[in-house]
Symmetry: C2
Subunit: 202 residues, 2 copies
Protein backbone atom coordinates (compact mmCIF):
# COMPACT_ATOMS: atom_id res chain seq x y z
CA UNK A 1 0.00 0.00 0.00
CA UNK A 2 1.13 3.54 -0.74
CA UNK A 3 0.51 6.66 1.35
CA UNK A 4 0.97 10.02 -0.41
CA UNK A 5 1.05 13.14 1.72
CA UNK A 6 0.59 16.72 0.56
CA UNK A 7 1.19 19.35 3.25
CA UNK A 8 1.22 23.03 4.05
CA UNK A 9 4.63 24.26 5.18
CA UNK A 10 4.85 24.03 8.97
CA UNK A 11 1.84 21.75 9.30
CA UNK A 12 3.90 18.82 10.56
CA UNK A 13 3.13 16.80 7.43
CA UNK A 14 6.69 15.54 7.16
CA UNK A 15 6.82 14.41 10.81
CA UNK A 16 3.40 12.77 10.44
CA UNK A 17 4.60 10.96 7.32
CA UNK A 18 7.76 9.73 9.06
CA UNK A 19 5.81 8.48 12.08
CA UNK A 20 3.25 6.75 9.87
CA UNK A 21 6.05 5.00 8.00
CA UNK A 22 7.65 3.82 11.26
CA UNK A 23 4.32 2.60 12.67
CA UNK A 24 3.42 0.75 9.46
CA UNK A 25 6.91 -0.56 8.71
CA UNK A 26 6.83 1.27 5.36
CA UNK A 27 9.68 3.03 3.60
CA UNK A 28 9.67 6.83 3.82
CA UNK A 29 10.63 9.15 0.96
CA UNK A 30 10.78 12.91 0.97
CA UNK A 31 14.00 14.70 0.11
CA UNK A 32 15.60 11.26 -0.28
CA UNK A 33 13.96 11.17 -3.71
CA UNK A 34 16.34 13.85 -4.88
CA UNK A 35 19.51 11.89 -4.29
CA UNK A 36 18.00 8.69 -5.68
CA UNK A 37 16.90 10.53 -8.83
CA UNK A 38 20.30 12.18 -9.12
CA UNK A 39 22.06 8.86 -8.81
CA UNK A 40 19.79 7.33 -11.44
CA UNK A 41 20.35 10.19 -13.87
CA UNK A 42 24.07 10.54 -13.35
CA UNK A 43 23.59 14.30 -12.82
CA UNK A 44 24.59 16.22 -9.73
CA UNK A 45 21.96 16.32 -6.95
CA UNK A 46 22.18 20.13 -6.91
CA UNK A 47 20.19 20.31 -10.16
CA UNK A 48 17.42 18.31 -8.55
CA UNK A 49 17.52 20.40 -5.38
CA UNK A 50 17.19 23.56 -7.40
CA UNK A 51 14.17 22.23 -9.27
CA UNK A 52 12.60 20.51 -6.25
CA UNK A 53 8.83 21.07 -6.27
CA UNK A 54 9.24 23.98 -8.64
CA UNK A 55 7.55 24.59 -11.97
CA UNK A 56 9.35 25.51 -15.19
CA UNK A 57 10.26 29.15 -14.93
CA UNK A 58 8.90 30.65 -18.13
CA UNK A 59 5.38 29.28 -17.84
CA UNK A 60 3.25 28.05 -14.99
CA UNK A 61 -0.32 26.99 -14.51
CA UNK A 62 -2.70 25.17 -16.77
CA UNK A 63 -4.10 25.91 -20.18
CA UNK A 64 -7.86 25.32 -20.42
CA UNK A 65 -7.61 23.02 -17.43
CA UNK A 66 -4.92 20.85 -19.03
CA UNK A 67 -1.38 20.81 -17.67
CA UNK A 68 0.66 22.67 -20.22
CA UNK A 69 4.01 21.08 -20.91
CA UNK A 70 5.84 23.43 -23.23
CA UNK A 71 9.35 24.15 -22.07
CA UNK A 72 11.30 27.00 -23.57
CA UNK A 73 15.06 27.10 -23.85
CA UNK A 74 15.05 29.49 -20.89
CA UNK A 75 14.20 26.63 -18.56
CA UNK A 76 17.32 24.66 -19.18
CA UNK A 77 19.81 24.61 -16.35
CA UNK A 78 23.45 24.67 -17.18
CA UNK A 79 23.20 20.90 -16.78
CA UNK A 80 21.15 20.78 -19.95
CA UNK A 81 18.30 19.25 -17.96
CA UNK A 82 14.94 21.05 -17.83
CA UNK A 83 12.70 21.07 -14.75
CA UNK A 84 10.39 18.76 -16.65
CA UNK A 85 13.14 16.29 -17.43
CA UNK A 86 13.97 16.30 -13.72
CA UNK A 87 10.28 15.74 -12.93
CA UNK A 88 10.26 12.83 -15.38
CA UNK A 89 13.28 11.21 -13.76
CA UNK A 90 11.81 11.69 -10.29
CA UNK A 91 8.49 10.22 -11.51
CA UNK A 92 10.25 7.08 -12.67
CA UNK A 93 12.06 6.83 -9.35
CA UNK A 94 8.76 7.15 -7.43
CA UNK A 95 7.04 4.56 -9.65
CA UNK A 96 9.94 2.15 -9.24
CA UNK A 97 10.04 2.51 -5.47
CA UNK A 98 6.25 2.14 -5.16
CA UNK A 99 6.41 -1.08 -7.17
CA UNK A 100 9.05 -2.56 -4.90
CA UNK A 101 7.75 -1.70 -1.42
CA UNK A 102 4.95 -0.21 0.67
CA UNK A 103 5.93 3.43 1.02
CA UNK A 104 5.04 6.86 2.34
CA UNK A 105 5.80 9.65 -0.14
CA UNK A 106 5.71 13.28 0.98
CA UNK A 107 5.07 15.94 -1.68
CA UNK A 108 6.49 15.85 -5.21
CA UNK A 109 3.10 15.07 -6.86
CA UNK A 110 3.43 11.41 -5.85
CA UNK A 111 -0.37 11.07 -5.72
CA UNK A 112 -0.55 12.17 -9.36
CA UNK A 113 2.46 10.15 -10.45
CA UNK A 114 0.91 7.02 -8.91
CA UNK A 115 -2.67 7.79 -10.01
CA UNK A 116 -3.04 4.50 -11.93
CA UNK A 117 -2.52 2.45 -8.77
CA UNK A 118 -5.60 1.49 -6.79
CA UNK A 119 -3.79 1.02 -3.48
CA UNK A 120 -2.95 4.66 -2.71
CA UNK A 121 -4.33 6.70 0.15
CA UNK A 122 -3.84 10.40 -0.58
CA UNK A 123 -3.68 12.69 2.44
CA UNK A 124 -3.33 16.45 2.87
CA UNK A 125 -2.14 17.97 6.15
CA UNK A 126 -2.86 21.58 7.09
CA UNK A 127 -2.68 23.37 10.47
CA UNK A 128 -3.68 26.60 12.17
CA UNK A 129 -1.48 29.39 10.91
CA UNK A 130 -0.12 30.23 14.38
CA UNK A 131 1.00 26.65 14.91
CA UNK A 132 2.64 26.65 11.50
CA UNK A 133 4.55 29.85 12.19
CA UNK A 134 5.69 28.52 15.57
CA UNK A 135 6.93 25.29 13.98
CA UNK A 136 8.79 27.12 11.21
CA UNK A 137 10.39 29.51 13.75
CA UNK A 138 11.65 26.50 15.71
CA UNK A 139 13.02 24.63 12.71
CA UNK A 140 14.70 27.59 11.00
CA UNK A 141 15.46 29.66 14.10
CA UNK A 142 13.97 32.76 12.55
CA UNK A 143 11.52 35.54 13.44
CA UNK A 144 7.75 35.19 13.11
CA UNK A 145 7.72 37.63 10.20
CA UNK A 146 10.37 35.67 8.33
CA UNK A 147 8.51 32.44 9.04
CA UNK A 148 5.28 33.95 7.71
CA UNK A 149 7.04 35.07 4.52
CA UNK A 150 8.60 31.63 4.08
CA UNK A 151 5.24 29.92 4.61
CA UNK A 152 3.51 32.03 1.98
CA UNK A 153 6.31 31.66 -0.55
CA UNK A 154 6.73 27.90 -0.22
CA UNK A 155 3.00 27.16 -0.17
CA UNK A 156 2.56 29.20 -3.35
CA UNK A 157 5.41 27.28 -4.98
CA UNK A 158 4.00 23.91 -3.88
CA UNK A 159 0.54 24.85 -5.17
CA UNK A 160 1.94 25.90 -8.56
CA UNK A 161 4.05 22.77 -8.85
CA UNK A 162 1.14 20.49 -7.95
CA UNK A 163 -1.31 22.24 -10.22
CA UNK A 164 1.10 22.43 -13.14
CA UNK A 165 1.76 18.70 -13.23
CA UNK A 166 -1.45 17.20 -11.82
CA UNK A 167 -4.05 19.65 -13.18
CA UNK A 168 -5.71 19.46 -9.73
CA UNK A 169 -5.94 22.12 -7.03
CA UNK A 170 -3.41 21.78 -4.21
CA UNK A 171 -4.98 21.75 -0.75
CA UNK A 172 -8.52 21.33 -2.05
CA UNK A 173 -10.53 18.54 -0.40
CA UNK A 174 -11.52 16.88 -3.67
CA UNK A 175 -7.88 16.39 -4.69
CA UNK A 176 -7.29 13.96 -1.77
CA UNK A 177 -9.00 11.13 0.09
CA UNK A 178 -8.69 12.86 3.44
CA UNK A 179 -7.44 16.23 4.69
CA UNK A 180 -6.81 16.99 8.32
CA UNK A 181 -5.79 20.02 10.33
CA UNK A 182 -3.01 18.74 12.60
CA UNK A 183 -3.78 21.42 15.21
CA UNK A 184 -6.99 19.55 16.15
CA UNK A 185 -5.38 16.36 17.51
CA UNK A 186 -1.67 17.33 17.54
CA UNK A 187 1.01 15.44 15.61
CA UNK A 188 0.78 12.11 17.44
CA UNK A 189 -3.01 12.29 17.65
CA UNK A 190 -3.16 12.86 13.90
CA UNK A 191 -0.80 9.94 13.28
CA UNK A 192 -3.00 7.61 15.35
CA UNK A 193 -6.13 8.88 13.65
CA UNK A 194 -4.64 8.27 10.20
CA UNK A 195 -3.41 4.81 11.22
CA UNK A 196 -7.01 3.89 12.04
CA UNK A 197 -8.13 5.14 8.63
CA UNK A 198 -5.37 3.17 6.91
CA UNK A 199 -6.46 0.00 8.72
CA UNK A 200 -10.03 0.55 7.54
CA UNK A 201 -9.05 1.00 3.90
CA UNK A 202 -6.68 -1.98 3.68
Amino acid sequence: MIINIGRQLGSGGREIGEKLAVALGYSYFDKELISIAAEKSGFNAKFFEKADEDVPKSISGNFLGMPFHFTGAGNAFSSGLTNEALFQIQSEVIQGLAQKQSSVFVGRCADYILRERTDCLNIFICANVNDRIKRICNIHEESENKAKERLEKIDKQRAEYYEFYSGKVWGKAESYHVCINSSVLGIDGTVNFLLELIQKTK
Copy 2:
Protein backbone atom coordinates in the same frame (compact mmCIF):
# COMPACT_ATOMS: atom_id res chain seq x y z
CA MET B 1 -20.60 20.37 21.05
CA ILE B 2 -21.41 21.53 17.54
CA ILE B 3 -20.71 19.72 14.26
CA ASN B 4 -20.79 21.85 11.09
CA ILE B 5 -20.78 20.06 7.77
CA GLY B 6 -19.99 21.55 4.37
CA ARG B 7 -20.56 19.22 1.43
CA GLN B 8 -20.37 18.78 -2.31
CA LEU B 9 -23.75 18.03 -3.88
CA GLY B 10 -24.25 14.27 -4.06
CA SER B 11 -21.42 13.48 -1.62
CA GLY B 12 -23.79 12.09 1.02
CA GLY B 13 -22.97 14.93 3.40
CA ARG B 14 -26.58 15.34 4.43
CA GLU B 15 -27.04 11.63 5.15
CA ILE B 16 -23.74 11.54 7.05
CA GLY B 17 -24.87 14.55 9.10
CA GLU B 18 -28.21 12.93 9.93
CA LYS B 19 -26.56 9.68 10.96
CA LEU B 20 -23.99 11.49 13.09
CA ALA B 21 -26.80 13.37 14.83
CA VAL B 22 -28.70 10.15 15.56
CA ALA B 23 -25.57 8.37 16.83
CA LEU B 24 -24.61 11.29 19.07
CA GLY B 25 -28.13 12.18 20.21
CA TYR B 26 -27.67 15.68 18.76
CA SER B 27 -30.25 17.82 17.01
CA TYR B 28 -29.97 17.99 13.22
CA PHE B 29 -30.56 21.13 11.16
CA ASP B 30 -30.41 21.51 7.42
CA LYS B 31 -33.44 22.79 5.51
CA GLU B 32 -35.29 22.95 8.85
CA LEU B 33 -33.41 26.21 9.44
CA ILE B 34 -35.50 27.84 6.75
CA SER B 35 -38.84 27.28 8.41
CA ILE B 36 -37.50 28.22 11.84
CA ALA B 37 -36.04 31.44 10.43
CA ALA B 38 -39.28 32.18 8.59
CA GLU B 39 -41.30 31.65 11.73
CA LYS B 40 -38.99 33.92 13.70
CA SER B 41 -39.15 36.67 11.07
CA GLY B 42 -42.87 36.50 10.43
CA PHE B 43 -42.14 36.32 6.69
CA ASN B 44 -43.21 33.52 4.40
CA ALA B 45 -40.77 30.58 4.14
CA LYS B 46 -40.70 30.94 0.35
CA PHE B 47 -38.50 34.04 0.66
CA PHE B 48 -35.99 32.02 2.63
CA GLU B 49 -36.17 29.10 0.23
CA LYS B 50 -35.47 31.40 -2.69
CA ALA B 51 -32.43 32.88 -0.95
CA ASP B 52 -31.20 29.60 0.54
CA GLU B 53 -27.41 29.39 0.25
CA ASP B 54 -27.45 32.07 -2.42
CA VAL B 55 -25.50 35.31 -2.56
CA PRO B 56 -27.00 38.74 -3.26
CA LYS B 57 -27.69 38.90 -6.97
CA SER B 58 -26.02 42.13 -8.05
CA ILE B 59 -22.62 41.38 -6.52
CA SER B 60 -20.82 38.23 -5.48
CA GLY B 61 -17.37 37.32 -4.25
CA ASN B 62 -14.92 39.23 -2.17
CA PHE B 63 -13.25 42.56 -2.58
CA LEU B 64 -9.52 42.48 -1.84
CA GLY B 65 -10.07 39.34 0.21
CA MET B 66 -12.71 40.98 2.41
CA PRO B 67 -16.35 39.87 2.19
CA PHE B 68 -18.11 42.72 0.51
CA HIS B 69 -21.52 43.45 1.97
CA PHE B 70 -23.06 46.12 -0.20
CA THR B 71 -26.60 45.31 -1.28
CA GLY B 72 -28.25 47.30 -4.04
CA ALA B 73 -31.96 47.90 -4.33
CA GLY B 74 -32.03 45.25 -7.04
CA ASN B 75 -31.53 42.56 -4.40
CA ALA B 76 -34.71 43.22 -2.54
CA PHE B 77 -37.40 40.63 -2.96
CA SER B 78 -40.97 41.74 -3.16
CA SER B 79 -41.01 40.97 0.57
CA GLY B 80 -38.74 43.94 1.17
CA LEU B 81 -36.16 41.54 2.64
CA THR B 82 -32.70 41.32 1.06
CA ASN B 83 -30.71 38.08 0.88
CA GLU B 84 -28.46 39.55 3.52
CA ALA B 85 -31.30 40.29 5.89
CA LEU B 86 -32.38 36.67 5.45
CA PHE B 87 -28.80 35.56 6.15
CA GLN B 88 -28.83 37.68 9.29
CA ILE B 89 -32.07 36.14 10.55
CA GLN B 90 -30.79 32.64 9.77
CA SER B 91 -27.52 33.45 11.59
CA GLU B 92 -29.43 34.41 14.72
CA VAL B 93 -31.46 31.21 14.48
CA ILE B 94 -28.29 29.10 14.17
CA GLN B 95 -26.62 30.89 17.09
CA GLY B 96 -29.72 30.46 19.25
CA LEU B 97 -30.03 26.76 18.47
CA ALA B 98 -26.32 26.14 19.07
CA GLN B 99 -26.59 27.82 22.47
CA LYS B 100 -29.47 25.58 23.52
CA GLN B 101 -28.35 22.15 22.35
CA SER B 102 -25.59 20.02 20.86
CA SER B 103 -26.31 20.12 17.14
CA VAL B 104 -25.26 19.11 13.66
CA PHE B 105 -25.65 21.91 11.11
CA VAL B 106 -25.36 21.17 7.40
CA GLY B 107 -24.35 24.02 5.09
CA ARG B 108 -25.54 27.61 5.46
CA CYS B 109 -22.13 28.91 6.62
CA ALA B 110 -22.77 27.57 10.13
CA ASP B 111 -19.02 27.13 10.71
CA TYR B 112 -18.51 30.83 10.02
CA ILE B 113 -21.61 31.94 11.95
CA LEU B 114 -20.39 29.96 15.00
CA ARG B 115 -16.70 30.85 14.59
CA GLU B 116 -16.45 32.40 18.07
CA ARG B 117 -17.34 29.11 19.74
CA THR B 118 -14.47 26.79 20.69
CA ASP B 119 -16.54 23.60 20.67
CA CYS B 120 -17.15 23.29 16.92
CA LEU B 121 -15.82 20.56 14.68
CA ASN B 122 -15.98 21.70 11.06
CA ILE B 123 -16.15 18.95 8.45
CA PHE B 124 -16.25 18.93 4.65
CA ILE B 125 -17.55 15.92 2.71
CA CYS B 126 -16.62 15.31 -0.92
CA ALA B 127 -16.88 12.15 -3.06
CA ASN B 128 -15.77 10.72 -6.38
CA VAL B 129 -17.67 12.41 -9.18
CA ASN B 130 -19.20 9.16 -10.47
CA ASP B 131 -20.62 8.35 -7.03
CA ARG B 132 -22.01 11.86 -6.77
CA ILE B 133 -23.74 11.65 -10.16
CA LYS B 134 -25.21 8.25 -9.28
CA ARG B 135 -26.56 9.58 -5.99
CA ILE B 136 -28.09 12.66 -7.62
CA CYS B 137 -29.67 10.50 -10.38
CA ASN B 138 -31.28 8.35 -7.70
CA ILE B 139 -32.57 11.24 -5.61
CA HIS B 140 -33.91 13.36 -8.47
CA GLU B 141 -34.73 10.55 -10.91
CA GLU B 142 -32.92 12.32 -13.72
CA SER B 143 -30.32 11.51 -16.40
CA GLU B 144 -26.58 11.53 -15.77
CA ASN B 145 -26.19 14.66 -17.88
CA LYS B 146 -28.83 16.52 -15.89
CA ALA B 147 -27.25 15.34 -12.65
CA LYS B 148 -23.85 16.58 -13.80
CA GLU B 149 -25.30 19.98 -14.67
CA ARG B 150 -27.06 20.17 -11.31
CA LEU B 151 -23.89 19.22 -9.47
CA GLU B 152 -21.84 21.92 -11.17
CA LYS B 153 -24.48 24.61 -10.71
CA ILE B 154 -25.20 23.91 -7.04
CA ASP B 155 -21.54 23.52 -6.06
CA LYS B 156 -20.76 26.85 -7.72
CA GLN B 157 -23.61 28.47 -5.83
CA ARG B 158 -22.53 26.94 -2.51
CA ALA B 159 -18.95 28.05 -3.08
CA GLU B 160 -20.02 31.62 -3.86
CA TYR B 161 -22.34 31.76 -0.85
CA TYR B 162 -19.67 30.40 1.51
CA GLU B 163 -16.95 32.65 0.17
CA PHE B 164 -19.14 35.75 0.14
CA TYR B 165 -20.06 35.52 3.82
CA SER B 166 -17.06 33.71 5.35
CA GLY B 167 -14.22 35.12 3.23
CA LYS B 168 -12.83 31.55 3.16
CA VAL B 169 -12.56 29.12 0.26
CA TRP B 170 -15.31 26.50 0.12
CA GLY B 171 -13.97 22.95 -0.11
CA LYS B 172 -10.38 23.92 0.68
CA ALA B 173 -8.72 21.85 3.42
CA GLU B 174 -7.62 24.86 5.48
CA SER B 175 -11.22 26.09 5.82
CA TYR B 176 -12.18 22.99 7.88
CA HIS B 177 -10.84 20.72 10.61
CA VAL B 178 -11.24 17.60 8.52
CA CYS B 179 -12.30 16.80 4.96
CA ILE B 180 -13.12 13.32 3.76
CA ASN B 181 -14.04 11.70 0.47
CA SER B 182 -17.05 9.53 1.33
CA SER B 183 -16.26 7.17 -1.57
CA VAL B 184 -13.29 5.81 0.42
CA LEU B 185 -15.21 4.26 3.33
CA GLY B 186 -18.82 4.61 2.11
CA ILE B 187 -21.51 6.51 4.01
CA ASP B 188 -21.66 4.34 7.14
CA GLY B 189 -17.90 3.87 7.20
CA THR B 190 -17.44 7.64 7.04
CA VAL B 191 -19.98 8.13 9.85
CA ASN B 192 -18.09 5.68 12.08
CA PHE B 193 -14.76 7.25 11.22
CA LEU B 194 -16.07 10.72 12.08
CA LEU B 195 -17.62 9.45 15.32
CA GLU B 196 -14.16 8.28 16.38
CA LEU B 197 -12.72 11.70 15.58
CA ILE B 198 -15.49 13.42 17.52
CA GLN B 199 -14.78 11.20 20.55
CA LYS B 200 -11.09 12.17 20.37
CA THR B 201 -11.81 15.90 20.26
CA LYS B 202 -14.37 15.96 23.07
